[in-house]
Subunit: 609 residues, 2 copies
């Protein structure tokens, strides 16, 4: 368990009482929880331009009004999530909000979407980060997928070490990224204002462009809304904050939304004034940086911090997924193992599940970001819509002071989110269809899981008020499965005699001659123990044994005797040596336990060399 | 075990006494054992031409003398292996021959090379077969690796069904391939002889070509010798033949060598007279077929049968690998599990190991045949050289009648094989270096495995002549690990009381409050059983339990009591439900068994719903 490798990677175990120390201050929380949202600017503007450039370069000016619409959405979501944070200081986000206000199935739709979405967050962020690295060092190109997988593993280990430590590691790159983008935007704007750079606008704002339809503009808007993925992370993670938790979380959310809005607008405006057109191999952000700085230190600095923050964006998923899994497991919709804290107080099982899921996505989609993004947006806007609709219901039911204003904010958010969702379904159905498969499956599994746990509890419950009336066994029968006359068998027999009133040895042979020889040898060495010899026509050891045990079990039940099957097993000194022994005893043990109503005991004999 | 799916795929189990029915006649054996060797012509000539064309098209005529040299090698190997078949009618091939005549390490080098080589056989053949399929249907190109993996799985299932059945399935395509190549060669030669086709010879035989060195010619020869991979399969598989085994095997070998020689020479001559030059996307064989027939039915027929026989060539590996593994396991160099016959009398573990290994190779090399071929040749010519050297030693030692002739044949074979090997090492070291890593590792593992089995036997042996003197236990202590007060625990306690003189319940809690509540509840329900409450600071259930058991064990040993740890466990009705329960009891059981000297018993409680 406490293997040296595990200790080296994960660190010493922490006591449960050390849990309090792991809370986050506002600045650290910003680093841990905002990298996903902030890193979206690396591809958000580009998504809008990609839709517009399909019409013509002259249509690019529409990116400015579209960006303003995205900002309105951002503003609405910020207001809405602040209200959620204050109303639900124990965290849970879309899942809890939807469940409490819209019913459990709405909650499960939100929760299921988010679980998959966090995997997509990790997959998308790490893939884009890898793309950035690979663009810088093209010789690494053939290893893009292994690099992405390696990065997921690194982030996983950091998270298994625990929250505060990961924040310390991750804070610096986030601040560097924020710094570099601020410098980029300010320098760019100043240069343009001073007329130091010729502007290369593709067309002035307001030009009428042939072929631009409302549908196209909506599609561009929906694509651009990918910039807003990740802003829900804070509301899910309120319990991670230092006290006062809700207040700190709300403030952090506003700081993040402000930075995000400024960055997004700044990048979009610069893209417009520099006449940037999306290219296959160079990102829009990188083109802008080159326009502003040329290929000097700042250009490479921006490339590097962008790559870093994209990799770190994955960390948002690692903070949020285990908490959501915890909430679902608490309601019995997910396996109990998601309730347990690991050695370092993080919810290790959630962390590991997320890592495995996102690695599978990376391998499945061969690390191609563009294929994952639409699915990712849908997975985000389903819970956005649900949680805001839930808040509307809540305000309406409560009608506490100032409810009009709150309801209006959530209504605006809900309408815009729902519109984005509809547009995504209408214009991107080729990419987002898997949602219609995995969501119903997940909800089915959630329900089956819960009903299993409920049935289990009912079956196992002991009624304390009733008198316990179990008649004792009259005696014990022990069947010892023997393959040879060895020291292991001798020890096992000694034990069997000590607990059993009747001891029977049973031997299965696949060769009649050898079987006969064995019985003769047995009777010489252990004349006091009866041996049953079973010949197996089909070379299976377990089949004849099962039948023998079934007969013995009937007789034992009839006599009110207990029945124990004792399996002698030698334990090699070194782990690898287990590979050298055919796993018959393991198979027999598992099969007996799963399929038969007998006690299965193992007598171990530890080898010395 | 006997799952319906397994029955559907593999068929009903066969009795051990049905083993005799599974023997092969000469024609069926030819189909099962020769597809590897015969399919080599699909790439053998091409390997020679690839080396020559690197100098100039004029150098192509050298392919004819080189092909004649390969035929000499084929002739020598045929003679040599016939002698091996007669001298070793129980099979074993290079491993047995080398071990008996050159010592065990030479045997292990041969055996280790062959084990890896059979995996390469499967990987190379299936990859080339997939290439042929993908060339025919280019839209399948992105799925080449999954297709190859799927094909390996299909061949694996066919082999798990058993030898004779697989021969029936596989015989027809081999005969069709032989038929189609015969038609190709005869038609081609007749057309050339009748002057119906203009010959496009690149240069006439004997032309002096600048840049052709002895080294280059040797390299071309070594590359072309890849055509001879697979001819050793028959000598390894003598026991699969109907009686008289050796005679039938030897005849089959000669038939195979004759066909192979005819095909190889025919293809090489046609390639020369049609002036065929290797191309990236079209194989030499396919170019010849197009030249001879045009794109008519016969062209596609040849493509199809070539693809099929390449896939089936993998089958040679599936026939030979399990037998070799069996021989190595009999000598304790490999795990015992390779000795066991499966439901259908095939050595299932060998078959499955081979399948897994070759699938890994396909994935690792992304199904690229050309990267695997040099390694494959080395892996073949190491055992060729060793077994023929072994035969020389044997004839020299025995000096029975006519030994001069026999020794001369083997000497010729050994010298040529060794030369090929040296040339491969000198000219292809960039591809074949892994041999120097995996061979020493394998030999190390072989020795470690054997020494483990020998030590094991010594430790477990019971000396029958000595009186057995084990004092009986004075009594039994049973520790019941309990997590809650459920019906499972009640049943377990009843059993514990029936076998134990002392019964102690032990409960580990990760929350002090809950632990206290549990103890109170326990004392209300089971006042007769003492409960030990352990609080786990680090949230691990097994750590405190282990310490408690260690203390109890010391006391039990001191009193000469046995110590049983009883783990109550409920068994869900359906397998998938096991996923929903944290695997603590499994972990505790495994850890106790591996690390502690106590009897571990499981009390199962089967859920009804």
């Amino acid at each position: 368990m406490a293997s040296p490798l595990k200790r080296l990677l994960i660190g010493r175990p922490l006591k449960s009482s050390e849990a309090g120390e792991q809370k986050l201050g506002k600045l650290k929380a910003l680093a841990v929880l905002s990298s996903d949202a902030l890193s979206s600017i690396a591809y958000g503007t580009e998504q809008i331009l990609l839709v517009l450039v399909a019409v013509s370069a002259a249509a690019m000016w529409y990116s400015i009004p579209i960006a303003l619409c995205v900002l309105v959405l951002l503003f609405a979501l910020n207001l809405s999530y602040k209200q959620i944070i204050h109303s639900y200081p124990h965290g849970g986000g879309a899942y809890v909000v939807s469940r409490e206000n819209l019913g459990k199935n709405a909650g499960l739709v939100a929760g299921g979407s988010l679980l998959v979405d966090y995997m997509l967050t990790v997959a998308v962020s790490i893939s884009s980060g890898t793309d950035a690295i690979v663009s810088a060092v093209p010789s690494l190109f053939p290893f893009a997928v292994p690099i992405a997988v390696f990065l997921v593993i690194v982030v996983t280990i950091i998270n298994l070490r625990g929250i505060t430590e990961s924040a310390s590691i991750l804070a610096i790159p986030v601040y560097l990224f924020v710094f570099s983008i601020v410098v980029l935007i300010l320098t760019g704007i100043i240069k343009v204002l001073l007329g130091m750079d010729a502007t290369h606008e593709t067309a002035s704002i307001g030009t009428h462009v042939q072929g631009v339809t409302l549908f196209l503009l909506l599609r561009a808007f929906a694509s651009g809304s990918a910039s807003l993925t990740g802003i829900e992370a804070i509301s899910n993670a309120v319990p991670l904050f230092k006290k006062p938790q809700a207040k700190n979380a709300a403030k952090t959310l506003t700081i993040m939304a402000t930075i995000l809005g400024f960055f997004f607008l700044g990048i979009t405006v610069l893209a417009f004034v520099y006449g940037t057109v999306p290219e296959l191999k160079v990102t829009v952000l990188s083109q802008i940086a080159e326009n502003v700085f040329g290929r000097n230190f700042m250009f490479y600095f921006i490339q590097a911090t962008t790559a870093l923050i994209l990799v770190l964006a994955a960390n948002t998923g690692f903070s949020a997924f285990p908490l959501l899994a915890f909430n679902l497991a608490k309601d019995k919709y997910m396996p109990r193992m998601y309730l347990a804290r690991g050695d370092r107080l993080g919810y290790s099982n959630g962390i590991i599940t997320l890592a495995v899921g996102s690695i599978l996505l990376i391998i499945l989609f061969k690390g191609k970001t563009e294929l994952l993004v639409p699915l990712y947006s849908v997975g985000v806007f389903i819970p956005f819509t649900l949680s805001q609709t839930g808040m509307i219901i809540k305000w309406w039911k409560e009608r506490s002071e100032g409810w009009h204003k709150k309801l209006a904010a959530n209504l605006l958010g809900a309408i815009i989110s729902f519109t984005v969702l509809i547009v995504l379904f209408l214009t991107r159905i080729d990419s987002v269809w898997p949602v219609f498969i995995f969501l119903p499956i997940m909800i089915f599994v959630f329900h089956r899981t819960r009903s299993h746990y409920i049935k289990l509890k009912r079956q196992l419950r002991v009624d304390e008020s009733m008198d316990i009336d179990v008649s004792d066994f009259k005696g014990n029968v022990v069947i010892v499965a023997v393959s040879d006359t060895t020291k292991v068998v001798e020890g096992a027999l000694k034990y069997a005699k000590s607990i059993g009133d009747t001891v029977i040895a049973v031997h299965v042979s696949i060769d009649r001659m050898q079987g006969k020889e064995f019985v003769e040898r047995w009777n010489r060495i252990h004349p006091e123990v009866r041996v049953a010899h079973l010949y197996s026509t089909y070379r299976s050891i377990s089949e004849p044994l099962m039948k023998f045990i079934d007969t013995a079990k009937q007789k034992a039940d009839h006599d009110n005797y207990s029945l124990t099957v004792l399996i002698p097993q030698f334990i090699p000194k070194k782990g690898w040596q287990n590979l050298l022994h055919n796993q018959t005893s393991l198979m027999i043990r598992t099969r007996l336990m799963m399929q038969r109503d007998v006690i299965v005991a193992t007598y171990p004999y530890h080898l010395k060399e």
